[in-house]
Amino acid sequence: MKGVKKRYLIGGVILLLVVGYLFYLSFGSSVSYYVTVSEFFARGTELYNTNVRVAGRIADSPVDWDAEDLELRFSITEGGDNMTVIYQGAKPSGFKAGSSILVEGKYHSDGMFRASQLIMKCPSKYELEE
């Protein structure tokens, strides 16, 4: 009986260690900063070339869609700051001037944000904004 308990304990500790290690490993590499456009620029060049999520609204400026090269170019704005975003792919549903959007990707030193993913922060998925 005692032996079984001990073995359980050892097994449990090993399991915990493995899970803890997995957790630690994944957490570190999967974490990215979540900032608004103005917060991004307030940090200077600190967040350049790192994976970030930037929240803002789609600006009124014209949206460029190059169907040949599948390149979408638009601006997002928040807190008085603007950021030009380039995305390889078509407009998602809900993409309109004024909509809240999350862009995921890297800001390059050429002044362009290259997004790997666009997430429409669309509260109206279920309901209309009041």
Binding site: R7, L15, F23, S26, S30, Y33, E68, L70, S124, E127
Partner: protein
């Protein structure tokens, strides 16, 4: 007319309050009349609630836009079926619908027969009634579901086109059914704890409800994935978004509970553990609306501006504190269970399954709430990417599937090595041979891994079935088919479980294949252009523009050939909806047993002269097996649910 519904709901509130108080007082002073009166008022609540629901649905069907909820989610041109489903597209409407299911289940519970139920009934009903009061208060006091608009709009806003899909018709009600089912299990278990029912007794009493809730919640989650795949146009089905995790977490813990009560019934083992599991399962079913109503920020979707989260959080905390306190008071009186003698036994593998499920639920919970907690504590605002969940949950899920293959081969209490070797060796060798074959054929390494991990449990189940059937065939002189069905019938709980396992294995197979082997391509084509992906060649033939009073549709016709043979025409479309002033893609999917060809039209200029269009095309291998797996899950649930085992309470006589 509409007012009647409102009044019915308002009356239901004090009636529910009366039933809760009468039950508690009736038990205290042991007044049978008071308890009977409370039972009657439980029925009254569900009658009033049903009347109220019928009237609000009538308002939807009649398109009465003077009612706010109708105006916000329905419109004149909305089809009848989706007009009804528009109810749970609303934040209050969804809680209202869920509350109705709870009132229905409370009545069903009050009608249950048997010694066990009679003993614990007043307590279980009191718990249900208290929860019911909370739900009714949400839609009458906190917000008024019958709220009228100040002026009558000419038409409603209409239902979001993304929600006009079969998946969204059934996904929310299935989730709520599962949640309400787990609430019944929780109420029964807590009542058993109060009345000092022994675990062997209640574990049989709650089993049916637990199987029901688990099966329905599992299907609800799967249909949510099906909807995401077929409607959202991104070609995936799971993004680890908080609102998705919200439905997954209670299911994971519910699965653990379902397995731990097997231990309870067979060995009276894992009592406290099972109790803790059901308490947290119930808490997580409430945490789910907390998330979808905006308690946790979700980038994808949810109910906007809902006032409910603080109230829900309060109820979760009260539930946790109250039930854990009760548990700590009662646990000293528990009967001693039978502990397993060996590490290699069925008990141990059940225990390991349980631990992994709990760890999985914990990881998902941590990943969902940690970024929010860090932010709330004044830390940096961070986001967790999908890869976090994939990397942590993926390996654990594989271990879980693998265990399904080992567990049935182990004996209770103690397994002798020779019997394990005999049972496991051939199936294991067979899977290894299969995996090597796949590796040599060059399909890919991940397929080989998948074959070992998914193949072993699949083979084990088949071998178990074959052995049982053969034994019956030999002793009972039944033919093989008869023998197989009478085997299933002999222990429906066990074989229903096996069927559900097949379902999970198939789902795992679909997930592994579609995660590691999918191909994706986006291209802009002109009429006559082609694109190649995998074995497929897609040719863009025509674009037809259609307009009705709801939307403008651009329907592309794309002919598809595979390895040079024409296999058909696909028609994805790109629709502009006037009501939402927005574009929505309707995908076209060609499904075969081996793979799905998924096409989505993501852009076109609606120009009759220039029909250039952008297509997103994916090849998703084996994905159809996920949905087939869902069928097995349902089948297994039904077989296990109809298990006619002897009720322990009935045996006493």
């Amino acid at each position: 007319m509409i007012e009647t519904g409102h009044i019915a709901l308002i009356i239901a509130l004090p009636v529910a309050l009366f039933s809760a108080i009468a039950l508690i007082v009736g038990i205290r002073v042991s007044s049978k009349r008071l308890v009977a009166g409370a039972r009657f008022s439980v029925f009254t609540v569900s009658v009033l609630y049903t009347l109220s629901l019928a009237i609000i649905l009538y308002a939807f069907v009649a398109k009465d836009f003077s009612i706010r909820i109708v105006a916000e989610h329905a419109s004149r041109d909305l089809s009848a079926v989706y007009t009804l489903s528009a109810l749970y597209a609303d934040k209050a409407g969804s809680m209202f619908f869920w509350g109705w299911l709870i009132s229905l289940f409370t009545t069903m519970l009050a009608l249950q027969k048997g010694d066990y139920y009679q003993k614990i009934m007043p307590y279980a009903l009191a718990i249900m009634a208290i929860v019911e009061i909370f739900f009714i208060a949400l839609v009458t006091v906190v917000v008024n579901i019958f709220e009228k608009l100040p002026s009558l709009p000419p038409d409603g806003w209409g239902l979001n086109p993304l929600l006009q899909n079969f998946g969204m018709l059934v996904h929310p009600p299935l989730l709520y059914l599962g949640f309400a089912g787990f609430m019944v299990v929780f109420a029964l278990v807590m009542a058993s704890l109060i009345t000092r029912c022994q675990a062997t007794e209640w574990s049989s009493g709650v089993r049916g409800w637990a199987v029901f809730a688990w099966c329905v919640l599992g299907l609800g989650n799967l249909l949510g994935m099906w909807w995401s795949y077929n409607e959202l146009g991104w070609g995936g089905y799971w993004a680890w978004d908080p609102v998705e995790n919200a439905g997954l977490m209670p299911w994971l813990l519910g699965t653990a509970f379902l397995h731990s009560i097997v231990m309870l019934r067979q060995r009276n083992y894992l009592q406290t553990w099972s109790l803790v599991l059901i308490i947290f399962t119930f808490a997580l079913t409430l945490f789910s609306p907390f998330i979808t109503h905006g308690g946790i920020e979700s980038p994808l979707h949810g109910f906007y501006g809902s006032p409910f989260p603080p109230y829900i959080l309060a109820v979760i905390l009260i539930t946790l504190v109250g039930s854990l306190w009760l548990l700590s008071r009662r646990r000293h009186a528990f009967e001693k269970g039978v502990k397993p003698e060996s590490l290699i036994s069925r008990e141990s593998s059940f225990l390991l399954t349980n631990i992994i499920l709990v760890v999985l639920a914990f990881i998902v919970l941590a990943g969902t709430v940690l970024p929010q907690i860090i932010k709330a504590l004044g830390g940096t605002h961070i986001a967790l990417e999908r890869s976090f969940f994939d990397r942590t949950c993926g390996p654990l899920l594989l271990v879980l599937v693998f265990l399904m293959g080992v567990c049935p081969l182990l004996g209770w209490s103690k397994s002798a090595w020779p019997s394990i070797k005999r049972n496991l060796l051939y199936t294991f060798l067979a899977t290894v041979v299969m995996a090597i074959g796949i590796l040599i054929s060059g399909v890919g390494n991940w397929y080989a891994t998948a074959a070992i991990i998914c193949g072993l449990p699949l083979l084990t189940i088949c071998v178990e079935w074959y052995r049982g059937t053969r034994a019956r065939h030999r002793t009972g002189k039944e033919n093989y088919l008869r023998a197989f069905f009478s085997l299933l019938n002999s222990n429906r709980a066990r074989y229903g479980g096996f069927l559900a396992h097949i379902g999970i294995i198939l789902i795992a197979l679909g997930i592994i294949a579609s995660s590691f082997y999918n191909m994706e391509k986006t291209a802009t084509l002109d009429i006559g252009d082609s694109l190649n992906i995998g074995d497929y060649r897609l040719t863009y033939n025509e674009l037809v523009l259609k307009q009705d009073n709801v939307k403008v549709s651009a329907v592309a016709s794309v002919s598809v050939s595979r390895k040079g043979h024409t296999v058909g025409v696909m028609r994805p479309s790109y629709d502009y909806w006037f009501s939402h002033q927005d574009h929505f893609a309707e995908v076209a999917v060609r499904t075969t047993a081996a793979e799905d060809l998924f096409t989505s039209l993501v852009w076109t200029g609606y120009d009759p002269e220039d029909k250039t269009a952008t297509f997103r095309v994916l090849v998703n291998p084996l994905i159809v097996w996920m949905w087939v797996g869902g069928g097995f899950l349902l089948l297994g649930g039904v077989v296990a649910f109809t298990s006619r085992e002897k009720r322990l309470s009935g045996e006493k006589r």
